[in-house]
Subunit: 161 residues, 2 copies
């Protein structure tokens, strides 16, 4: 089973492709931190994010999307821009007929570190223990995307939209 | 010149198609309040909104999109859902290569009523005075969509994204 998992963002989108074989360990097939330039017009950045997701789905043919639920943070302007990007990601996933699963930051942290208020550092520490990773991961957004995918595998197909 | 103007929403999307002929008055070619059912899964509603915008663009072939900028209102949860829908609308417009113009509620109210804090009632009163309308408009969302389009025509191609 191949899934796409995404840490939604506007400046940076964490993207991961995870595979799970029955009785086997989860494997990371692909991950990246996709960035859009602040120099581009706002709709152009949404366009690039949508096209990226479209191409990733076309290439890896996942059956599900695991994505983080959005909550309000301190920066409300950022939250709206991230929500717009998240809308585009959900849209491309629905166009491609993926089943969509959404998880709160709390659920993700508990699934990966056992503790709902864990720091980013703990997530980066736990991810390589939970999944076979053959590459160096440097960005928090990639770690988060992988953690969101691991939450899906830990959740027995719960939280379907 | 034919433009698409949209009052972005999640439950209800105000959609209008406006035409302006050089030296002629603006004419409303089409408008509707597109609704999505609360019974549907969240991504499915975004999908329907995107497909609606796609089909409207295909049918009317507008060259521009005029759309309201989003601000935080009292209901933050709604704001995020509306932002997601707005992202999908901007995405479909960019895919179709439309030029995109964004206006604040203040700009829209000033363009249509001359006063930045006007009520919805005033907008409904002024819209038929500013544009040729051959149908009965019943929803605020349609009035708002038309007002957003009129703001574009009043703004001399300013506020391009």
């Amino acid at each position: 089973m191949i899934i796409l998992s995404i840490d939604p963002g506007y400046e940076r989108v964490g993207i991961a492709i995870l595979e799970k074989i029955p009785r086997g360990k989860e494997t990371l097939l692909y991950s990246e931190c996709f960035k859009t330039s602040a120099k581009l017009p706002h709709p152009e950045r949404l366009f690039l994010i949508g096209q990226k997701v479209h191409n990733i789905i076309e290439e890896w043919k996942p059956t599900c999307l695991s994505i983080e639920k959005l909550f309000f943070n301190t920066n409300q302007k950022t939250a709206l821009a991230v929500a717009e990007a998240r809308g585009v990601i959900l849209y491309e996933a629905t166009v491609a007929d993926l089943s969509i699963y959404e998880y709160t930051p709390l659920q993700i942290k508990i699934a990966v570190t056992g503790y709902g208020r864990s720091e980013k550092k703990q997530i980066a520490l736990m991810v390589p223990r939970l999944i076979v990773v053959d590459k160096k991961i440097s960005s928090d957004d990639e770690f988060d995307a992988i953690a969101i995918g691991l939450t899906f595998f830990a959740s027995d197909f719960k939280n379907r939209s």
